[in-house]
Symmetry: C2
């Protein structure tokens, strides 16, 4: 065996080593890690590639777009949402509320990922599974099919929007904004409004800012579900609907 030739110095070996072979799912996993660590704006092709010890161009063999990558990230995150075993039409409002909160819990646990879901039609596997579950539930309750179908749309928007709003808050806090001070500023801003043009708003400054995110979220869900309830045929309304008292009711 002859002595090995030295490397020609300017002809470097092409790469160091990618520990694992690059793959679609590995890239998505990494992107989620970066997302959790630095937020959605931190998820750049370069950043993800760097985390994998390579350059951005390498990602494009497995993912056609940044948009597609983000869709995959969203789908992976959505798959963490744990759904109940089966629909319980007897307590459909409670069950939907629980699902909404579970969804928000998962979404907000991955920074501002919910921004991705706004304005994108949910066609991922987990997203469809959730749709299927809710649709089934609403039909079992007795809602007309068209009402159930459109209601899903609204419910999805409610979840996404609220999750995004919550994450905007969270990001603000993460960036060091004192949330108490922030609310104080908001409060005094409302109080400082000219009373001749904004009499109602100015007088209700406290009421406008009352309640935490969860409380407001629960309220919006309840309003939507009560509205849905009104579409129940008379028969279904009788046995399914046990009107739940609420402290805001008169």
């Amino acid at each position: 065996m002859p002595a090995q030739m030295p490397e020609i110095p300017w002809h470097k070996p092409r790469k160091a080593e990618p520990r694992q072979p690059l793959s679609r799912s590995l890239i998505v996993e990494t992107a989620v890690r970066v997302l959790d660590a630095e937020g959605l704006s931190g998820v750049t092709m370069r950043r993800v590639a760097q985390e994998l010890g390579t350059g951005p161009a390498s990602l494009y063999a497995h993912v056609s777009n940044k948009e597609e990558l983000l869709d995959l990230v969203l789908e992976r995150v959505t798959s963490e949402i744990r759904m109940p075993a089966r629909p319980e039409p007897g307590r459909w409002k409670e069950q939907i509320t629980e699902i909404c909160f579970e969804a928000q819990r998962v979404l907000t646990s991955h920074r501002d990922v919910s921004l991705v879901s706004l304005g994108s039609i949910p066609l991922g596997e987990s997203q469809l599974a959730i749709t299927e579950f809710l649709l089934d539930l609403l039909l079992q309750v007795g809602l007309p099919p068209q009402v159930a179908a459109w209601a899903l749309d609204g419910l999805g928007q409610l979840i996404d929007t609220d999750a995004y709003e919550a994450s905007v808050y969270a990001e603000r806090i993460a960036r060091g904004t004192d949330i108490g001070e922030y609310f104080g500023q908001l409060h005094s801003f409302l109080l400082a409004l000219p009373a001749d043009r904004f009499p109602v708003l100015q007088g209700m400054a406290d009421t406008m800012l009352a309640g935490g995110g969860d409380e407001r979220y629960a309220f919006k869900i309840e309003v939507f579900l009560r509205g849905l309830e009104s579409y129940l045929p008379a028969g279904a309304r009788a046995d399914r609907h046990r009107p739940s008292r609420h402290r805001l009711d008169a």
Copy 2:
């Protein structure tokens, strides 16, 4: 008067000419023009500056941020929303519905500007005026103050989200996607779902895709308003609430 000295060639006059002196409102106007012509992603500091015959750095004397510029753009757009002269509690649901559609009309007439309003607290003058109007209306109807306050939150989210969703559609069309073909693909996608895991969804493909944007929008508004209605104290419910028949009611 002596003959004028020639210009030293390499010592060019610092600038050509900004027709009008730069100003905050002129910049915002220009940004809106660019927005209408090229969409939100076309609104860059360079693009706006170019339209004004100058460089991006010049804008920063009047506007501290791109974020601030976009907020100003949103406020200017919002000021185009025409509100009714005064609240009419006797037909509050109809009036709110009209306002929602008017808001959507204005927002979608400026491409995808509604993306700006998602996740930003509406503190602009026109935005506050709308809030003031709706709050006044809801209180006159007889809703408890806390309900009215939180309802505004939900109503705003509904308007913004739907406007954004509509604009995503519109942008897709503007980019040349055949919308009929697109819906056809969606339809056959739903039909191709495995029937064992998505029986309901697969069977309701038509129902899921039924209805145009306006119809769906109207439905969501109606659901939310009916939900709100249920928070009316018994007394107010009697005279204010004339239950409106709806073709989807059973």
